[in-house]
Amino acid sequence: MRELKLFLGPQHPGMHGNASVHMYVEGDIIKKSYLLPGMLHRGFEKGMERHSWVNNISLIPRVCVVEPDINEMAFAMAVEKLAKLEVPERAHWIRMIILELARISIHLMAYGGLGSPTGNYTIMYHAHADRNRILDIFEKITGHRVYHQYIVPGGVRKDLPVGIEQDIHDFLDDLESRYTEYRDIGIENPTILKRISDTIMLPEEVVWELGVTGVGMRSAVNKPYDLRKVQPYARYDQVEFDVPVSGYSDARSRVNIKLIELTQSIRIIRQCLEKMPNGDVRVPIAKGQSMRWTVPKGHAYACVESSRGEFGYYMVSNGGTHPYRVGVRGASYPQGLLGIEKYLPGTRIDDAALWVDTMGVCSPEIDR
């Protein structure tokens, strides 16, 4: 049989983001594959060196489009480590609410994205409609729908608006009441169930070899390896939640874990709204001359658990008004590049889109 070269993406409906999977196929079996990023490369790491510490706040949410708050949190934590800032108590709880709302939104988006490779678009419309309600809540809190620029070094930009608690409670109740419906139209649907069961398996040794973190890792190693539990940041050590795990990593168990994480996020947000104290939300930094604010010399690595895994910022300061070097550790870097190159050969063409969807590969994060 003749070997063909196929490009999957960036315009393919089953692909996510601006990246292309190049595949050499024989029949419908992939023989060799690699990801071609670089279509979106915007040079963030160089750009951040040319902006002051405070100016960078507007640049970082653009690193990953669908989950901007994770970038803000990792950046803020790294700067706080360098500048030894103490964040007010209330800001920690507000940050957790924002991060968990973002996690729900991206899990919904990934779950809806399951519709395109499997050919069942109903899930996508349901999930995106609910995601839209989260964006409405974000708009009320931060003034922006997608790029929030809300979590800043030293706290959060402003306090929660009056009455937002009720909106969040309404949304969570509604989402919870429709949870079984989500399961029914999605992974309990016999067609999709057959399509995603026992496909693109990820054995445990491959996880360590590639360096996969997040849902991909937890679905394979059967241990609750989650940065929120292992290295708790903000106030994750003061709330109760479970980390779903599995010892058999096929596409179905990964999607299942994402769905269970939705319920855990709902649990966390409810506890946050209950336990949140009153008080300041921000430490003022360099009042009146924030552009000339300097951070002491040093280097710091701060990482948070994104929906795709460990997301970190490595930051170096030489005592100036600008960062000397900022390195972004994208969570989808290992499974996106090495995973596609090493692990897709041997599977079928249509499984490539399932890999990209269920492993959560976010291409702007690879390009950055």
Partner: protein
């Protein structure tokens, strides 16, 4: 004994560490010489730090050195270890750690692309994120000036491109006119 102290004893008993820095309870950083990096990383892998989280370089232009940073993670001990080392900036070369951490392949490739650091042992170094025909200084080095490639550069390139297109157009137009002329003369000749 908590995990930071454990890691500190483990490393400092067997290696000559130039500088140790405890960042916080979840992170510790060791600076070692270039020759020790391989041995240290393989020892850490045996001790349970089996995942490479991050690998990158920092350009210290004033010291004429590159600093390489490897961050490895042990989930059971909940500890990130940074292994840092300095290499010469004139001949930046570091043995690849591909045999220890297979996941480092693309990190090293990116390091090569953006800093020009060579990693013998890593099989392929094709350009991935920047242009293939790029022959200038690697862009994340400090002596690379992005302003050289800002508006003026692209305006000039656009001007040239547009003019080549215009020239082509004009030549095509000339061809078209010549053809028309030929046809008309032939036609006229025919009539005569």
């Amino acid at each position: 004994m908590n995990s930071v102290e454990f890691a500190r004893e483990l490393v400092e008993s067997k290696f000559q560490v130039l500088k140790t820095e405890v960042v916080d309870q979840y992170q510790i950083s060791f600076e070692v010489t270039r020759d020790d990096v391989h041995r240290l990383l393989s020892m850490l892998k045996q001790a349970g730090w089996i995942q490479l989280s991050y690998l990158s370089a920092i350009d210290w232009l004033e010291d004429n050195e590159f600093e390489l940073v490897y961050i490895v993670m042990n989930w059971d001990k909940a500890l990130h270890i940074q292994v840092r080392t300095r290499i010469d900036r004139e001949h930046p070369e570091m043995d690849s750690v591909l045999s220890i951490f297979p996941g480092c392949k693309y990190y090293e490739r990116e390091c090569h692309e953006f800093f020009g650091v060579k990693f013998p042992g890593n099989p392929d170094f094709e350009k991935q994120l920047i242009l293939e025909e790029w022959d200038d200084i690697p862009p994340l080095r400090k002596d690379f000036d992005p302003r050289a490639y800002s508006d003026a550069h692209f305006a000039k390139r656009e001007y040239e491109d547009r003019h080549t297109v215009l020239n082509n157009q004009s030549s095509k137009q000339k061809q078209r006119e010549a053809r028309k002329e030929r046809i008309t003369t032939i036609g006229k000749g025919g009539r005569k």
